[in-house]
């Protein structure tokens, strides 16, 4: 069975693995222990101790905090319970004018800001840009991902989903 060390997976996630090695991993049979190795590598990367249950973006994680199972930024900012859309607790910068769009597209033709805006969802603590929505004005904010944690852990990983802190079993 294919398997890689935590260090290799950490380098892969960071984009630091030499291309030759990355290419080999891409072409090989997939490693069945990847999820656990990736979680271990990510847990080493973040500065907090709450156990990561699932990454939901490159710098956003569902983790078990003292307050319960919450979505955390890599910096530790708490976006609230994992079942809620984290974007609604973020800071947002709306690019809805030629001037604001041109900051990102300084040389290209621009979209029509009456038809389209960019919404930048930012961590209010560290300022990390977590997600950009490109949509018509007035479009509801999208809840990107609602994982089936129980199904994933119990049916796919073959082990119990850890009980959520502070929630009676």
């Amino acid at each position: 069975m294919t398997s890689y060390s935590k260090e290799v997976i950490a380098d892969l996630i960071e984009g630091n693995l030499p291309w030759h090695d990355t290419r080999r991993i891409m072409s090989a049979y997939k490693d069945d222990d990847r999820f656990d190795k990736a979680i271990a590598a990510l847990q080493d990367r973040v500065e907090w101790d709450a156990p990561i249950i699932l990454p939901v973006s490159s710098h956003l994680f569902i983790a078990d905090t003292a307050k319960g199972r919450h979505t955390l930024c890599e910096c530790g900012h708490d976006f609230g319970h994992w079942t809620k859309n984290w974007k609604l607790s973020a800071a947002v910068l709306i690019r809805d004018s030629d001037e604001l769009l041109a900051e990102i597209y300084p040389t290209a033709d621009l979209p029509d800001p009456r038809w389209m805006e960019l919404r930048e969802f930012i961590c209010p603590t560290c300022g990390h840009l977590h997600e950009v929505e490109a949509c018509a004005p007035g479009y509801p904010v999208v809840h990107d991902f609602q994982p089936d944690l129980e199904g994933f852990y119990e049916d796919w990983l073959g082990r119990a989903l850890p009980p959520e802190p502070g929630v009676a079993a």
Binding site: A90, A108, D109, P111, M116, A134, P137, D144, D148
Partner: protein
């Protein structure tokens, strides 16, 4: 009949198809194959046979490409071939434009369901052709031929081949006919027609092609190529049957498909995380004031393309397009065959990179294409000539949703921000040889790709619809059109910004040569809105860019005076201003009066979306990008917060200290300019309640709500509006 037996072969084809579908329903397995018996009994024989089948397909396609006269097929590989079961399910396929492996399946099933066995009859040596998207293809230029495979008088399979034709005889030259607003202007239709018998194409069919196409040599020789490849595959299958016996063949092809289905479910469980994934993209199109477009509906319009993906615990993927827009009087509608094909080609590239690739993978998915929308029109007169314009962005969303599932599972190397739609240029008129001609230019098969989660996207090297993604050689294109290249350049800043940027696209600049009448036509432009996206903080790639042309420029004078010549539009988009002449700037489809020798024309393609926060991009890599023209110095500073400077011998380097300071300032500025989402939503809710939007935006909401109560309810709930909220008509 027990569910473990192959379907009885003496049944009429239609009954066999129905029985196969019933067995799938009853057992949950393809054709009732609940056990991969042959695989278990002798895996080596089983695997060897599949390899032989696949080799048969690949070699048939390569042979056929050498028969074709079309640079689309010869250079760019716009062809695919496949072998099917008697019921029309794909067993094995070649590389190439794989979207059509499944659209051909639809075509075969359509003939079976429509009584072709009785009339016009299905016999050994028959050739059937189709390019009707409601029967089974994507657009008119995708012309498919299938031939039955008989063994001792019994139909035991089909061989099929598709080529994308460079000219299909529509209202404008080429095949992606943007002026088509109904099917009647799309070009020459061949609707599930028997075009040949005894391995020979009928002369009257060839005459019809010759008299209805601007450049019949492409279509007609492609027909020869396809028939040759079908015969090659048919004979290959017969040889295999001679080796393994007919009973083994009948069983093994079904096991291959069932294994493909199981493999897809297993890969989903291995690579993803179950749950609900959501995303969207948009398409904004303008034709107001352009000659030739009939005022049959909105001339400028905005489409929303929402997509919800559910990955179930058993590994099934369900895609739902509810909430999207209705079909329209434009060329970008799609049919379920095209949407199915889009799903198939996406799966083959992003999940089925090992094991058996066939229709089984598609069977492990489910698509909801709401009736009446552009994904499933309730009117079969609609045009689908440029359905890729909406199909590609919609499956770009799917790629991003799938990628989030890979990222959550830890398989970051599989994360891909996705394919993009990219505009096409086609032309017709008088060739450089003085003859009538028409052609689609297929250098578009090399746009920029979306970024990955671990590296930048591919520059000028990827489109979703042709995984081989080759722009072709300039010299070959120049042989086939009355234009010569004066430049083919990387389009700087055309990749979406991000920690990993999207792949850049390119721009071609041509000088018209030896023609007094050249119609240049372009299609598939989302110029008003982004039809692609970024991921995890990455930005979308720019919208489709405007066309720049110069009529009667003073190029000869400048050459005579040995002055610098333009070779593109330059980083500042002003390089063509070196020339005197009539400068033309056009947004959206290029439908202008003909050009002539001496004119200059440019056409640019689209880049891919970015991944990750721009403030995390590697400054050293960015300096290399500036040096090589992928990113401008200004964008490095203003978008990425990276300070670069030119050193000796044109080498650029990053100033890491200045970059760190600039980035700290940009991060602080970002935080000071952003405000809480809750605060913004309170303001925005008032705007929504007042319906304070551009007319095209109001129309988009009104139409989405008309077709989907779910969309209306979710929209109203999100903004705290009454459940029966309506968006008034555009005034």
């Amino acid at each position: 009949m027990t569910i473990h037996d192959p379907i009885k072969v003496d049944m009429p084809l239609r009954d066999r198809l129905l029985a196969s579908e019933r067995l799938m329903e009853e057992t949950g397995c393809y054709d009732g194959i609940t056990e991969l018996r042959l695989r278990r009994q002798d895996p080596l024989k089983y695997e060897t046979l599949h390899t032989k089948l696949r080799a048969t397909c690949v070699s048939a396609r390569e042979m056929a490409r050498r028969i074709s006269a079309s640079p689309g097929v010869r250079e760019v590989g716009e062809m695919v071939v496949a072998i099917y079961t008697p019921e029309g399910d794909a067993v094995a396929l070649s590389n190439g434009i794989m979207v059509h492996v499944h659209t051909m399946s639809r075509f075969i099933k359509w003939m079976i369901n429509n009584g072709y066995e009785e009339n016009p009859g299905i016999n050994d040596g028959d050739i059937f052709a189709n390019n009707d998207a409601f029967i089974g293809t994507v657009q008119v230029p995708d012309v498919m031929d299938v031939m039955p495979i008989y063994w001792e008088g019994e139909l035991v399979g089909w061989a099929g081949a598709v080529c994308h034709e460079l000219e299909s005889g529509g209202i404008t030259p080429g095949g992606d006919v943007c002026l088509a607003q109904e099917r009647f202007t799309e070009g020459l239709f061949v609707c599930a027609e028997k075009i040949g018998t005894n391995d020979e194409i009928r002369r009257d069919y060839v005459i019809r092609c010759e008299r209805n196409l601007r450049m019949p040599i492409y279509w007609v020789l492609d027909e020869q190529a396809k028939v040759a490849s079908c015969i090659e595959m048919r004979e290959g299958v017969k040889n295999i049957i001679r080796d393994v016996g007919i009973d083994y063949w009948k069983r093994v092809m079904k096991e291959f498909i069932e294994e493909g289905r199981r493999g897809q479910l297993a890969r989903t469980r291995q690579l993803t995380v179950p749950g609900i994934y959501r995303g969207h993209t948009f398409y904004g199109h303008v034709t107001e004031g352009k000659q030739g477009f009939q005022p049959l509906g909105p001339m400028d319009w905005l489409y929303n393309i929402p997509l919800e993906l559910e990955i179930t615990r058993d590994g099934k993927m369900k895609l739902d397009y509810e909430g999207t827009q209705p079909w329209g009087y434009h060329s970008m509608n799609c049919t379920p065959a095209g949407m199915d094909g889009g799903m198939f080609v996406t799966l083959t590239q992003h999940m089925n990179f090992e094991g058996l690739v066939n229709d089984g993978a598609w069977m492990a998915t489910e698509l909801n294409l709401p009736h009446g929308t552009w994904t499933n029109p309730d009117n079969e007169m609609v045009a689908t000539a440029t359905s890729w314009a909406l199909l590609l962005p919609s499956y770009g969303v799917f790629q991003r949703l799938l990628s989030r599932s890979f990222l959550a599972r830890g398989f970051v190397e599989e994360v891909f921000v996705g394919q993009v739609n990219s505009p096409m240029i086609e032309m017709g008129g008088t060739s450089q040889y003085g003859t009538p001609f028409g052609m689609a230019h297929f250098e578009c098969a090399a746009a920029g790709s979306g970024a990955l989660a671990i590296k930048d996207g591919l520059d000028t090297a990827y489109v979703g619809w042709n995984p081989e993604s080759d722009m072709g050689n300039i010299e070959i294109w120049e042989q086939n059109m009355p234009m010569v290249y004066i430049g083919r350049q990387i389009l700087s800043d055309s990749g979406g910004a991000g920690k990993y940027r999207g792949g850049c696209s390119f721009i071609s600049t041509w000088l018209l040569n030896k023609t007094d009448h050249l119609r240049l036509v372009t299609s598939e432009h989302s110029s008003r809105v982004f039809d692609n996206g970024g991921m995890c903080g990455g930005y979308p790639a720019p919208t489709c860019q405007q066309h720049r042309a110069v009529r009667e420029p003073n190029l000869a004078e400048r050459i005579e005076a040995r002055l610098p010549l333009p070779h593109g539009i330059g980083h500042d988009r002003r390089e063509l201003e070196l020339l005197e002449g009539e400068h033309v700037l056009v947004e959206g489809p290029y439908i202008e009066k003909p050009h002539a020798e001496g004119d200059i024309f440019t056409h640019s393609y689209n880049g891919g979306g970015g991944f990750g926060d721009v403030l995390e991009r590697d400054p050293v890599k960015t300096a290399e990008d500036v040096e090589n023209g992928f990113i401008t110095e200004g964008a490095a500073r203003s978008v990425y917060g990276i300070v670069v400077a030119e050193g000796d011998e044109g080498r650029w380097h990053a100033d890491l200290e200045a970059t760190a300071k600039l980035r700290a300032d940009k991060r602080a500025e970002r935080l000071s300019r952003a405000r809480p989402v809750s605060e913004w939503m309170a303001d925005e809710a008032r705007r929504v309640a007042a319906r304070d939007f551009a007319p095209e935006v109001r129309l988009m909401y009104r139409e989405a709500m008309r077709l989907s109560e779910k969309f209306r309810a979710e929209f109203a709930e999100f903004w705290g509006l009454p459940a029966d909220f309506e968006m008034e008509s555009a005034k």
